[in-house]
């Protein structure tokens, strides 16, 4: 059941970078671009980097973020300010030097089915901005973004400008269709489709409904608090159908059944 993708620890390393662009994306969200000094291999969608300001010991640890785009010498991130680490990161002006550790973990492997449906909740769209750009010329890709609604207009607009045909849903009905991202996915799914999910755990769990329609494969990207990002500290471990797994190296992308074995 485990994903058959190998992690090469040797690919993960500490890199030096510099913030070259930072912009607000609606209330409480930020887009930054980081130039990587020594260049960088392009991460798979869903792989992530631990990022922190260089030489600063408070906040201490890098925060995991999944790039929304990459080039040979830069990485783009989109994040929401939720606590000390992300508010500090959002306050850094262009020119600030940062440490990055990555690319970490197993991202989404190349899709194996004919159609791909990417289901995201709020900032869960980050890896799908990259994935949709990568795959939309090769196959039919539908991206769904669920947000709370009021206050998320600018964020939704920003994402729409990057994803042609983005389907938006909101809990309060003020943006796109009223409802949640999983309901939207149920309305577009066809038997055999491949589904990838990223967002709150409750949403990822609900994705299991799509199996009933005959989804061929469901992969989910999980979040967990992290310290090392390389499988050493066991701070990110969680129980799965096949024992304790580390989100940072065994994931963050897992087969849905491995994470929610008792959901149905």
């Amino acid at each position: 059941m485990a994903l058959n993708v190998s992690v090469q620890g040797a690919e993960t390393s500490d890199r030096k970078g510099r913030i070259v662009l930072t912009e607000s994306v609606g209330r409480g969200c930020r887009h930054i671009r980081v130039e990587i000094e020594s260049g960088c291999c392009r991460p798979d969608p869903g792989q992530f980097f631990l990022i922190r300001e260089r030489g600063v010991f408070d906040p201490l640890l890098g925060r995991p973020l999944a790039p929304i785009a990459s080039s040979n010498n830069s990485l783009d991130f989109l994040f929401r300010i939720v606590g000390r680490g992300t508010s500090h990161m959002a306050s850094l002006p262009p020119g600030t030097e940062v440490d990055l550790r990555g690319p970490c973990g197993r991202g989404f492997p190349g899709p194996v089915k004919r159609r791909l449906i990417l289901v995201s909740g709020s900032l869960g769209i980050a890896p799908f901005l990259d994935a949709s750009a990568r795959y939309r010329d090769k196959m039919e890709v539908t991206v769904i973004l669920g947000v709370p609604g009021n206050g998320w207009e600018e964020f939704a607009k920003w994402c729409s400008s990057r994803v042609p045909g983005l389907r938006i849903t909101s809990d309060d009905g003020t943006l796109g269709n009223r409802g949640n991202a999983v309901e939207e996915a149920l309305s577009v799914i066809e038997p055999g489709d491949e589904v990838w999910g990223c967002g709150p755990n409750a949403m990822l769990r609900e994705l299991g409904h799509l199996f009933k329609i005959g989804s061929g494969r469901i992969l989910v990207s999980l979040e967990s608090r992290m310290a090392c990002g390389i499988g050493g500290c066991l701070g990110c471990s969680l129980p799965t159908a096949t024992g304790m797994k580390r989100v940072c190296v065994d994931g963050p992308v897992f087969e849905w059944q491995e994470i929610f074995p008792n959901a149905w």
């Binding site: 620890g9 500490d14 631990l50 640890l61 608090r225 390389i230 050493g232 500290c233």
Partner: protein
């Protein structure tokens, strides 16, 4: 390590190429996950805390950052000593450095069973690091290291069974780190590691509950450095066996301070979560000090601040 002359050290029955050791519980046990060149400058590598039976560790949240520090409540998640000996101990040898095995136990019987399982692999074990200081488990762990009689019993017993190098990793929560270090020395330990994490806690204000399920957790990182340095100073003043300084070492200067205070080697943990180049940088800093003060080797740095 080109340009890092004089860093070789004989410490507690162990011969190491540099006095920088990767502390227990921070490094993956699978070499396939090690970032390239990440062990540059490292003299020895310590295993995760091992118990007789496999453990899944603590449930709930396990880590929480604090001001320049990290609280952890991992709870000794480990595959058990049998699995470690059969699958990991051999793989770890690829680091080409001595491997310390960090051993945690609830009872003397359990300690005996673990050491006996390690005996056939004696040549692969650089030293046993007896963990009498884990704050994150209900039974065993730190309780052994807080009671002088318990400590004496455990160390003497381990000494009888384990003929190889034997180190003891103490808890900073002892009433007197000097006295507890002396107990270890008297019972045959060849080095003391000073020290493990400091007991702390966090509250989730939104939930109005302790952040960790086990309420208390172990604090590590830069925040504890001055506390650990003081403990190393006290321990080094109390014993003749080597003291291994551990706690909050974040910059090369910190390692130098620890050694000047009396440490014969240092262990680094939390700093590796954000800086894999620290061990090599520590080596350069120690080499520079050796050269600047015209010392013969790194061992001569130990305790110079005490003169």
């Amino acid at each position: 390590m080109p340009g890092n002359a004089g860093l070789h050290a004989e410490v507690g029955g162990l011969s190491i190429g540099s006095p920088v050791i990767v502390a227990s519980g921070v490094w993956p046990m699978e070499p396939s996950l090690w970032p390239e060149k990440a062990l540059e400058g490292v003299g020895a590598l310590c295993s995760k805390g091992l118990t007789l039976e496999p453990r899944t560790g603590n449930s709930g949240k396990r880590i929480c950052e604090s001001y320049s520090g990290l609280l952890n409540s991992i709870g000794l998640q480990n595959p058990g000593i049998d699995h470690f000996v059969k699958n990991e101990l051999i793989g770890l040898q690829t680091c080409d450095k001595p491997v310390l095995v960090n051993v945690s136990f609830e009872s003397i019987r359990e300690l005996a069973a673990i050491l006996e399982k390690l005996l056939p692999s004696r040549s692969l074990v650089g030293a046993v690091e007896l963990n009498v200081s884990c704050p994150n488990v209900s039974r065993g762990g730190m309780t052994w290291g807080l009671d002088p009689e318990g400590l004496e019993k455990a160390v003497s017993f381990a000494r009888k069974i384990w003929q190889g190098p034997l180190w003891v990793k103490l808890s900073p929560q002892t009433s007197s780190i000097g006295e507890f270090s002396r107990i270890c020395q008297d019972c045959g330990a060849q080095a003391v590691v000073v020290a493990n994490t400091w007991l702390g806690m966090a509250i989730d204000n939104d939930e109005e509950k302790p952040f960790f399920e086990r309420i208390f957790a172990g604090l590590s990182g830069p925040a504890i450095f001055p506390l650990a340095l003081r403990a190393v100073w006290e321990a080094a003043g109390a014993v003749d066996i080597p003291v291994i300084g551990c706690g909050g070492i974040t910059r090369p200067e910190d390692a130098l301070s620890m050694m000047l205070a009396g440490a014969s080697a240092v262990e680094v943990g939390t700093a590796l979560f954000h800086d894999l180049s620290l061990p090599a940088a520590i080596c350069s800093r120690l080499s520079a000090h050796i050269e600047a003060r015209s010392l013969g080797s790194v061992g001569e740095i130990t305790g110079r601040a005490r003169r």
